[in-house]
Amino acid sequence: MTFMKFATASALAMMVAGAAAAKSDITLAMQLEPPHLDPTSAAAGAIDSVLYSNVFEGLTRFASDGSIIPGLAQSWEISDDGLTYTFKLAEGVSFHDGTSMDAEDVKFSLDRARAEDSANAQKALFGSIAEVEAVDASTVKITLSAPNGSLLFNLAWGDAVIVAPESIENIKQAPVGTGAFKFANWVQGDNITLERNPDYWGTPAKLDKVTFKFISDPTAAFAAVMAEDVDVFAGYPAPENVPQFEADARFQVIVGNTEGETILSTNNKMPPFDNVKVRAALAHAIDRQAIVDGAMFGLGTPIGTHFAPHHPDYVDLTAESAYDPEKAKALLAEAGFGDGFTTTLKLPPPSYARRGGEIIAAQLREVGIQTEITNLEWAQWLEEVFKGKDYGLTIVSHTEPMDIGIYARPDYYFQYDDAEFQAMNTALEAEADVAKRSALLDKMQRKIAGDYVNGYLFQLAIPTIAKAGVRGLWENAPTQANDMTGVYWAE
């Protein structure tokens, strides 16, 4: 059959494929295109994926391992009551338009982010800030209304980067930051290019030019990589191809973990899911490994609670909800649903959701739970599921780092309303001491796992496919970013 011919042909092609010569520019593909280029006024992770630490920098920043390290702020002091933070800014930093970056810009940025009419998608991050004052050109003092253990962490987010009043006007089209790269050009629907910033205050970037190409369709993605149209594909959308790339000398595959807890979100207020027994039954009806294998082709770590496994404070609770259909049936019977029930399963676009959904549907069918699957566009999903809370079950990956706090929001879409947990969360937010925080986090993880709030599936892993010669890519994604500052081509 002709296809066999193709197969051999491609094998040959792979053998003869020469190693890429050292270049000073790189093309990095990703799935989603940013709607616009202002990280401080939209949720779209794509914006950070392009700009975070490349063009925009914050006072603090994430390191590739997820730890918080100094950014524009070289150092800081925290008062004993934990209410005042004093940041020392790096010297001689200037924006790409030449204007200098000083305390005033920091004050401007933060005040803008927390203002009444702010369009910042993560406004809550700045909730605890009472006042920001520029002590002098290179010193900023932030006063809190209440102690907040995660302030430094919060300030590392892409939504908290420092922008300049001079250039805020056109930020959506022509972003001006302090980073090692400057924004060069945007061909909407296709690509964005960045150029090296020659007068960068820190260690300059190794590459002259970075092109971000946007390829949403997995097939197109596969073709693009295979045809070597792109050098790197960050967050490669089709895990099924990973074995192929691993087998292909032209490429290297970097499988990194993310902050994305992928969960079977359950509408806790909608019967029968208001019954903990039913939720427990769900949890036991699900075979995580089958999902990881079937939907992610083996990529991803099973989780038993809403917390990132690679985080020091993670507790493995998968045993609590081990795969046990019989037990699930029993629980259902106890709950009075011996002969099962029917519910809706609404799935957003990503393949983890669409494929995972089909698998879960099949697994639930085993224990007598029928599901009506509906595939939704993100916009519909936000409308119906997230805002309208009109759903029984859905699958989504929560990619915000350290977001266990959402369980303390009774109005949040899975409508988990538990005073005890909310208390724990308030305590956590006020707590700055690392040990005590760990203890709290432990309790919180066990709490939601024990209440079977949602079905906890797996920690999303992102495969990054790169040409063999590419070096210095982030392995993990503590936040949605493609930090290109350290990337270079091996000789």
Binding site: M1, M226, E240, A290, T374, N375
Partner: protein, 271 residues
């Protein structure tokens, strides 16, 4: 019996049969997943291999035929049910406002890029087989309306229509007794052709995820889901693709064959 008629009839029959049989029997359950057995090449156990969930592709194609055929048939049905009366009415009242309105309406529908409308319909009412049917059906209405009007206009000039009028019959009655029976051949032929187009359209829609929703198997979605894998598991894409190709081919041949068999006089361009 022309060659194309025979080949077409056989091909179409095969898939209709497959669809019917799938109601009572398929080699494997298409809903049950078998992850460990995923992406198996064709073998004795799985004649056409298995997909990324370990489902039996042969079984899925059988059930997929059911989906495609159902969608296409209903869509054509809608087109005929609404289009034919409109066409008859327009022809009976030719030159009048009614005629004008109907025909302009048709042009308007034609003016809309069909796939976009389908996408918008599903955007409004959500993706589902039913909405795919509606989306496809709408664009069948003007096809039949125009066809019937055209044919009816020439029939209205026939003396036997005049004779019927002399016998005191009204436009409605004449349309029913004299016009309609004499356009049925055309309808059968065009029907098969629209049917094949419907299958193609359904495949296209479910390929972009606007057709029948999972777990219901559909050829278009089988292709869409296998896209990233068919470079190393060709059978995933080859068989559903062939299924579509052969069904459409069969129906087209059948249509041509019927055209010649039913009425040698109308050797008209198909589209």
């Amino acid at each position: 019996m022309s060659r194309s008629l025979v080949i077409g009839a056989v091909l179409s029959a095969v898939f209709v049969l497959a669809a019917l049989v799938s109601f009572v029997w398929t080699p494997y359950d298409v809903l049950g997943l078998d992850i460990p057995n995923k992406l198996k090449e064709p073998s004795a156990a799985h004649w056409l291999g298995t997909d990324h969930f370990g489902r039996d592709i042969f079984s899925m194609i059988m059930v997929g035929a059911r989906t495609s055929i159902a969608v296409a048939i209903v869509a054509v049905g809608i087109g005929m049910l609404l289009g034919v009366p409109l066409g008859l009415a327009a022809a009976a009242r030719t030159g009048t406002l009614l005629d004008e309105v109907i025909m302009r309406g048709n042009d308007l529908v034609f003016a809309f890029p069909s796939l976009l409308i389908a996408i918008m319909i599903t955007a409004v009412f959500g993706a589902s087989a039913v909405n795919a049917i509606i989306a496809i059906g709408i664009f069948n209405i003007p096809v039949f309306a125009r066809l019937v009007r055209g044919a009816a206009l020439s029939l209205w000039t026939r003396d036997y229509v005049l004779a019927a009028r002399v016998s005191g019959k009204g436009a409605a009655r004449i349309s029913l007794e004299h016009i309609l029976p004499n356009v049925t051949n055309l309808l059968i032929v065009q029907g098969t052709i629209q049917f094949s187009l419907g299958i193609l359209a359904e495949a296209g829609l479910s390929y972009v995820g606007l057709g029948a929703q999972p777990p219901t198997p559909s050829w278009g979605r089988m292709l869409a889901e296998s896209q990233t894998m068919f470079s190393f598991k060709p059978h995933l894409a080859v068989f559903p693709g062939l299924a579509i190709l052969l069904t459409v081919l069969g129906l087209n041949l059948l249509g041509d064959g019927l055209r010649d068999a039913l009425d040698p006089r109308l050797r008209r361009a198909k589209r």
